[in-house]
Amino acid sequence: MTSSTSRSSTLLFKRQFSQLNNRLNKWNDIPLAPPDKILGISEAYVKDSNSNKINLGVGAYRDNDGKPIIFPSVKQAERILLELEVEKEYTGITGNKNYQSVVKNFVFNNSDKDINGKQLIESGRIVTAQTISGTGSLRVIADFLNRFYTSKKILVPKPTWANHVAVFKDAGLDPEYYNYYDTTQNDLEFDSLKSSLLSQPDGSIVLLHACCHNPTGMDLSSAQQDEVLDLIQQKNFYPLIDMAYQGFASGDPYEDIAFIRKLNKAVVDGQIPSYALCQSFAKNMGLYGERTGSISIITESAEKSVAIESQLKKLIRPIYSSPPIHGSKIVETIFNEKYNLLSSWLGDLNAVVGRLNTVRGELYKNLDKSNYNWDHLLKQRGMFVFTGLTSEQVIKLRTDYSVYATEDGRFSISGINDKNVQYLADAINKVIKK
C-alpha cells in the first residue's frame, strides 16, 4: 500500500469513527450519579471484613442476633395466602376497595377512638390510594400537588429524611427548609421553627412527620402540635404528613397518631380544609421490600373525592399502572377478622419496639456521660438515635471501628444488640474524647 493510500484510508476510518461518535454524542454524556447517602452505607458495610463491624445505616429491624425477621403474624398471613390464593390479577390503579378501607379504618377511625376521622370516612371525604410504600406515596402526592395545587413551595424540616428533597424536586416542587432541630443543643428549636414558618409565603405546602421524626427522633409535644396547627390555619398552609414509623413511638400504632386525630378535628371543625397523609407498612409490619403503603387525601366533600380519585388514577396509570399485590394482600389478611391475626400483629410490633427501647436504654447506660450530655437519646423516639456526632466523628467511627452510620450522626438502633452495645459505646466514647 502506498503512503497516500494508507493516509486516505486512515482519514476514511477517522471520518467514519467520528460520524459514529457524533451519532452517539448525546448518549456519551451520561454522568455518574453519586451513590445514595443511606443505601450506600449498607453497601460499604457488606464489603468490610472486620468481624466487629456494626451496621447502623438503614432503618430495617434486626433482632438481638442481628438478623432480619419476618413478623410471626406476617408469616402466618403468608401461609394463609399460599394456601388460598387462586389468582395474581392486577389490582386497581389505586389498589382495591378492601385495602383502602382497611387503611382508612386503621388510621382515621383508629379503632373507634377518632370520632372526627370516622365522620370524615362516613361522609366520603377521604380518598385513599395504595402506593409503592412511603416513597411512592410521597412521590404521588408531590406529583399531584405539582399538577393541581396553587403553590410549588414545600417546606421541609431541617433536618429531614435524606430522600425527601429529591422526591419533591423531581416532582417539580420547590423544597425549602424550615428550622426544626438545633444540632448544637441536640433539641428542637421551637421558637425558631415558628418564626421560620411564619416567614414563608401563605399557601405553601408544609411537610410534617407524624411521629418518630427521621432522623432526629424528636417529635413536637402535644402543645407544640396545637401551636403548629394554629400556624397552619393562619398561613393557610397545605399540610402533608409523612407517617413511616407509626407504632415506633409508644409500641402502639393507635397511640402514635395523636397528631392525625388533631388534624381530623381541625378539618371537621372547619379550621383547615384539607391535608394529605403518606402512610407505610414497611417498618411497622416489616414489609419493607414489598413496598406497601398508601396516600390519603382529606377532601372538602364527597363530590370532590370522586374528582380527586379520578385524577390520582390518571396520574398513576402512565407511571406504573397498578401497585404490587403481595404486601397489600398480607395487610388485608392481617386485618381480616376471619383470621384473627390483628392482635398477634400488634403484639409482634410491640415486641419489636420494646427491644429497640431496651437497647436505647442500654446504649445510654454504657455511654460516658462525663464526656458529653447524652440526655437527648432518652427523649428521642423511634428506630433511630440522633447522636449529635459530627461527620468527622462518624467517619472516624467507620474507619477506626467499622461502625457504619450516615454522616449526620443518625444511628439505627436496630443494628445494636447485647453483643455489640458495649463495643459501640466504647467506640463512641473514644471518638468523642477531645
Binding site: I30, L32, V86, E87, K88, R139, G327
Partner: protein
C-alpha cells in the same frame, strides 16, 4: 376556600373502566374479552404450576425475608431476565454491554425509559414513534413526561395486514435519531407481527437513520410458546450487529409468568460497542430515577421469577406452562375462525383471527358492533374491536361466535 378548585372528574381509564362495567354486570352468561389476562378453559385466572411450586420453595427457604432490595432490584432476577430476552449466548452479554434495572412490570420499564431519554437523549427533543394502533397506555406514558409522540403506520384495516410500505416510509422520513417503539412480538392490540423478513427490512431502515429503538416485550413465550422465536427481532438486532445505536428493552413477566399484580419487569439498555458511556454511569442514573420515585422495586414477584429461572426443573415446568397457555389460545383462535367461516358463514374474511398471535385479536368489529355486543350479548371487548382470545373457552366460544355473527349482520352496511 377550596385547595383544589380546578379539579374536574375524569372518565375512568378505558381498560379499567371496561373491567368495572363487566364486574357490575349481573347477567350470568357474560363474557370478558376485555382486559389482557390469561384465563383457563373454565374462564378462571390461572396461577402457573411453575409459579406455585416456586412460591412454596421460596417461602419455605431459610433465607426468605422481606428486606429491601437494592435500588437496581434483585440481582439474581436481573441476570436471568437479561438472559431470557437476549439469549444465553448473546453478544451483548458476552461483551458486557447490558445494564439492567428492575421495574414495576412493563409500564414501569417504559416510564423509566421515557424519563431516562428525556434527560439523556437530545434533551428530550426527539419524538417517540408509536405504531398505529398501539397499546392504549403507550401515548400517555410518554406524553405525561413531556415527550412528543408521533405514530407510524402499522395496521392496514382493509387488508387486515401489515402496512409495511407505510411503516418503512415513516422510518425513512422521521428526523434522524428519532425514537421508535417496536412490539417485540404479539403486537398489542392487533396480534399482527412482522415476518422475520419484514423485521430485517424494518431494522435495516431504522439503523440507516440512526433511530433509537425501544422494544416493548410483554409476551415473550406467551405468543408462540417458544421463548427464542418470540425474541427474534431483539436478538437479531444485537447478535447480527444490525443496530449500532443504543437499544432499550422493556421486559414484562406479567403475562408469561402470570405475575400481573406482582409487577415484575425490567428495563435493559444495550450499550453500543463504541460508547464511552459506562454501564456504571447508566446504572447510577437509573438508580437516581428509581430512588426518588419508589426507592426500590417490590421484592416478592422478582424472587418468584428468579426462583423459576434459576432452577432447571422449575424452568422446564415454566416452559411447559407457556405451551399450555399459548396452545390453548391458539386452539380458541381456530375454533372461533371455524365457527364464523364454516358454520355461521358470517359475512367478511376472518383469517386474521387465526393468523394473529398472542393474547389479542383485532377482530375488525366496529365500535358500534362492540357496543351492541356489550349491551345485547353481555360480551365485553375494547371499543377498538380488540378481543382477548384468552377469555374464550369451550363453554363460551359458540355464544361468542353467534354474537359476533349477529352484530355483524345487524350493522351489515359496515365493510369487513
Amino acid at each position: 376556600m377550596s385547595f383544589f378548585p380546578t379539579i374536574k372528574e375524569l372518565p375512568p381509564d378505558p381498560l379499567f373502566g371496561l373491567k368495572a362495567r363487566y364486574n357490575a354486570d349481573s347477567r350470568s352468561d357474560k363474557v370478558d374479552l376485555g382486559i389482557g389476562a390469561y384465563r383457563d378453559n373454565n374462564g378462571k385466572p390461572w396461577i402457573l404450576p411453575a409459579v406455585k411450586q416456586a412460591e412454596i420453595k421460596l417461602i419455605t427457604s431459610d433465607d426468605y425475608n422481606h428486606e429491601y432490595l437494592s435500588i437496581s432490584g434483585f440481582e439474581p432476577f436481573l441476570k436471568e431476565a437479561a438472559k431470557i430476552i437476549l439469549g444465553t449466548e448473546s453478544k451483548a452479554i458476552k461483551e458486557n454491554r447490558v445494564v439492567s434495572q428492575q421495574s414495576l412490570s412493563g409500564t414501569g420499564a417504559l416510564h423509566v425509559a421515557g424519563v431516562f431519554l428525556k434527560e439523556f437523549y437530545y434533551g428530550g427533543s426527539k419524538s417517540i414513534y408509536l405504531s398505529s394502533p398501539t397499546w392504549a397506555n403507550h401515548q400517555q406514558i410518554f406524553r405525561n413526561l413531556g415527550l412528543n409522540v408521533e405514530t407510524y403506520p402499522y395496521w392496514n384495516n382493509d387488508s387486515k395486514s401489515l402496512d409495511l410500505t407505510g411503516f418503512l416510509s415513516s422510518i425513512k422520513s422521521a428526523p434522524e435519531g428519532s425514537i421508535f417503539l417496536l412490539h417485540a412480538c404479539a403486537h398489542n392490540p392487533t396480534g399482527l407481527d412482522p415476518s422475520s423478513e419484514q423485521w430485517k427490512q424494518i431494522l435495516y431502515e431504522l439503523e440507516a437513520k440512526n433511530h433509537l429503538i425501544i422494544f416493548d416485550s410483554a409476551y415473550q413465550g406467551f405468543a408462540s410458546g417458544d421463548l427464542e422465536k418470540d425474541a427474534f427481532a431483539i436478538r437479531y438486532s444485537i447478535d447480527q450487529d444490525i443496530i449500532k445505536t443504543p437499544i432499550i428493552i422493556c421486559q414484562s413477566f406479567a403475562k408469561n409468568c402470570g405475575m400481573y399484580g406482582e409487577r415484575v419487569g425490567a428495563i435493559h439498555i444495550i450499550n453500543p460497542i463504541n460508547s464511552t458511556a459506562t454501564l456504571g454511569a447508566i446504572k447510577s442514573q437509573f438508580n437516581k430515577i428509581i430512588r426518588s420515585e419508589i426507592s426500590n422495586p417490590p421484592a416478592y414477584g422478582s424472587k418468584i421469577v428468579s426462583t423459576i429461572l434459576n432452577d432447571p426443573n422449575l424452568k422446564q415446568q415454566w416452559e411447559k406452562d407457556l405451551i399450555t397457555m399459548s396452545s390453548r389460545i391458539n386452539k380458541m383462535r381456530i375454533e372461533l375462525f371455524n365457527l364464523l367461516t364454516h358454520e355461521l358463514k358470517t359475512p367478511g374474511n376472518w383469517e386474521h383471527i387465526k393468523s394473529q398471535t398472542g393474547m389479542f385479536s383485532f377482530t375488525g368489529l366496529s365500535s358500534e358492533m362492540v357496543a351492541r355486543l356489550e349491551s345485547v350479548h353481555a360480551i365485553y371487548l375494547v371499543s377498538s374491536g380488540r378481543a382477548s382470545v384468552a377469555g374464550l373457552n369451550d363453554h363460551n366460544v359458540k355464544k361468542v361466535a353467534n354474537a359476533f355473527d349477529e352484530v355483524v349482520r345487524f350493522y351489515a352496511k359496515s365493510k369487513l
